[in-house]
């Protein structure tokens, strides 16, 4: 494979930025945000340069590697710190640095009143570096470093305002639930090393043909656990809603566009594992389908604009996971949806941030309304993202989501019909809840108090939103024109070549549009044409109540894990004190007690001592006599 010594700069630039800003401290307050933005942008420039290099090479020479140094080498366990830039990772590199830079720019203005802005930018740069390491590592262990690195950055950023106890708790929850996923990654690496003798992508790919299906299924399931944790998929989805405690640019970058899609990256990157493990692949499909419905349902019931977007992210990633589970036919579409989603969801999150910026950080949509007049640019950019996510042609989401639904139908048999209809139903619900957001925020009558003064955000904030909106409009068309992305990624996957069509593409598109129309119409009837309560109505169906409580995810986690865990902890604390240490102290007490008893023999009377000595001596002589007989 071709060696290229420039890859490391992608990671090094933001990493240096983050270290500088953290180590210099207050000295960098004045220019820290500019440095961080510049470094992120230069990383993007390096990415573009790498892309142009890559385009100039033959298909088989496109992937490039760079060995940095020998990282861990013990016996046959030999892992280099080395990077791999191929057709898949370059997509991510550009997404991460591109959207990342836009969000840096946005944050300059958004965070301008926060006295810790420098620290915020340090974390952002740290995140960019870790995320790039995640997608550039050439082995599962290198990926692991980035994998936990983004977890750390996410923890720091969710808890950026950790002086509020609730936010600190949210960040802790995110880290711990991510760690459960990380455990899955550990398992995968351990199994891969124990049974295949290697942990690099290329090595595992090579060995995958020889390994038993059971082994590959084990690795696949372990990888799925990892993906589920990082991408907030069922059943480890509970942290994402709480993660909205972080500043809004963070939600846009980490919890919408990049980090949460790492699970999709992992599954697509490990395509050779899942190809060899149909059971694991089926599990991927099930997880994807459940989550896309789960997120969509939760999204319909939330009044907090960021939580709706978070639920929507969960649901959209469900689509991606579903696509990734469909095998070679779906990988390219999963990645395409990931890229288009990066644009429109980041744009919408920034839009939500812009709304909050103009509304004194109010997040309850029931207190919005009629903001179209006051924030025209935000309305337009958000609106374009909205059209993209619900999948109206020719906006980006139409191309990517439609393809996933179509591929799901074509998966064959009952499976195909079930998955396809789930995805189709999800599309309708998506249209419903996103229309609801649009109406409640922008077009319904105003419901805010007189002391609110909504205003449009400054150019530093709306410019990135505008760029992302352009992406939401065009990216789908550009990526799917002549199947550009599919052909670009094709060399990485092994095509089976079996194509069956259950439904013609045009039928699927038609059905999807019909479902979307139903969703939009019902939202318009419910919210635009009738009055909206300022307070969420109490008398609602049980189902709505469940949906508002995130389908009881926290209650279930609490009942199944937290309470028993706390019970075990307090029981063990007591056991340690009373039983284990008690046994030790018991021995001490026995020694002291027997000493106290023996002490009573010491009367202080010389004559009794003498008598004892005499008795002892006689007994001893007698004993000797007996023994020597």
């Amino acid at each position: 494979m071709v060696t290229n010594n420039g890859i490391v700069y992608l990671i090094a630039l933001p990493l240096i930025g983050s270290l500088l800003l953290l180590l210099l401290g207050r000295k960098a307050d004045k220019w820290g945000h500019l440095l961080a933005t510049a470094l992120s942008a230069s990383s993007f420039a390096v990415g573009l340069f790498q892309l142009s290099e890559m385009l100039s090479r033959e298909t088989e020479n496109r992937p490039v590697t760079q060995k940095l140094f020998n990282w861990i080498s013990v016996g046959s366990f030999n892992v280099d710190a080395s990077l791999l830039l191929d057709q898949l990772s370059i997509c991510f590199v550009l997404l991460i640095t591109g959207v990342g830079t836009l969000i840096h720019i946005y944050s300059i203005s958004y965070m301008s009143h926060d006295k810790d802005r420098r620290r915020f930018f340090a974390y952002l740069n740290l995140f960019i570096a870790a995320m790039l390491l995640l997608v550039l590592g050439d082995s599962y262990l290198n990926l692991y470093v980035g994998w936990e690195g983004v977890g750390l950055a996410s923890y720091l950023l969710i808890g950026f305002w950790n002086q509020k106890q609730a936010y600190a708790t949210a960040s802790k929850k995110a880290f711990v639930m991510n760690r459960i996923g990380d455990m899955g990654l550990s398992f995968a690496i351990m199994i891969a090393f124990a049974s295949l003798g290697t942990v690099s992508f290329s090595g595992v790919k090579e060995q995958a043909h020889y390994a038993s299906e059971a082994t590959m299924t084990a690795i696949g399931v372990a990888l799925l656990i990892a993906a589920v944790g990082k991408s907030a998929q069922f059943p480890l989805q509970a942290w994402l809603g709480d993660a909205m405690a972080g500043p809004t640019p963070v939600s846009a970058l980490i919890h919408a566009a990049t980090m949460v899609t790492a699970g999709v990256y992992l599954i697509v990157r490990s395509n050779f594992v899942f190809e060899a493990a149909p059971t694991a692949q089926l599990l991927v499909l099930i997880v994807g389908a459940i989550t896309l419905m789960f997120g969509a349902i939760v999204g319909t019931a939330k009044d907090d604009i960021k939580k709706v977007l978070a639920a929507s992210t969960m649901s959209q990633i469900g689509y991606m996971i579903l696509g990734a589970g469909l095998g070679p036919a779906g990988y390219a579409f999963a990645i395409m949806h990931l890229l288009t989603h990066g644009f429109f969801k980041a744009g919408m999150f920034l839009g939500a941030g812009s709304v909050m910026h103009g509304m004194n950080d109010e997040v309850n949509m029931r207190k919005y309304g009629a903001l179209r007049k006051f924030m025209p640019i935000t309305f337009i950019t958000f609106g374009l993202g909205y059209l993209a996510i619900i999948g109206v042609p020719p906006f980006a989401g139409f191309y990517s989501k439609d393809m996933i639904i179509e591929t799901a139908f074509n998966a064959g048999g009952l499976k195909g019909i079930l998955l396809g209809s789930t995805a189709l139903l999800g599309a309708a619900i998506t249209a419903f809840y996103m229309t609801r957001v649009m109406i409640l925020t922008f077009t319904s009558p105003k419901r805010w108090d007189e002391d609110q003064h909504p205003h449009e955000s400054p150019i530093l904030m709306w410019a990135p939103m505008a760029i992302l909106a352009i992406g939401s409009v065009t990216s789908g068309f550009l990526l799917s024109r002549g199947n550009a992305l599919k052909h670009w990624l094709e060399p990485l996957f092994e095509e089976h070549g079996e194509h069956q069509e259950l439904l013609a593409p045009i039928v699927v598109s038609g059905l999807t549009l019909l479902m979307v129309a139903i969703g939009v119409a019902s939202a318009v009837i419910k919210y635009q044409l009738s009055d909206v309560d300022e307070v969420a109505p109490e008398s609602v169906s049980t189902f709505t109540r469940f949906a508002r409580r995130d389908l009881l995810q926290d209650d279930i986690n609490e009942a199944l894990f937290m309470r028993p865990g706390q019970a075990i902890t307090s029981a063990l604390v007591k056991i340690d004190e009373r039983v284990v240490d008690g046994a030790v102290r018991g021995i001490g007490k026995i020694a002291i007690g027997s000493g106290a008893q023996l002490r009573k023999v010491q009367t202080g009377y010389v004559r009794s001592y003498a008598a004892l000595i005499l008795v002892g001596a006689v007994a001893l002589i007698a004993a000797i006599w007996v023994v020597t007989q």
Partner: protein, 99 residues
Amino acid sequence: MSLDNYLYLSAILFTIGAVGVVVRRNAIVVFMCVELMLNAANLTLVTFSRINGTLDGQVVAFFTMVVAACEVVVGLAIIVTIYRSRRSASIDDANLLKR
């Protein structure tokens, strides 16, 4: 006369001494009983020396006498001191070590 009789005598003397140490309270009497036991031991040593026809036992007997003399010096001094301070030579009164 068999030399065994000397051994019986010394055993009797030793027993008398031991019983005296255990039952008597007066420190002086106890002290004398200790001397009695020592001399009983001496008698045994000398007797065995005679039986075996070596001088070892007699040599040890001399040692014992020296030790006994030292003991008398130190012991009597202690008894006299205790009597002076406590106005009593009863060893049951002198149980200071108990506490």
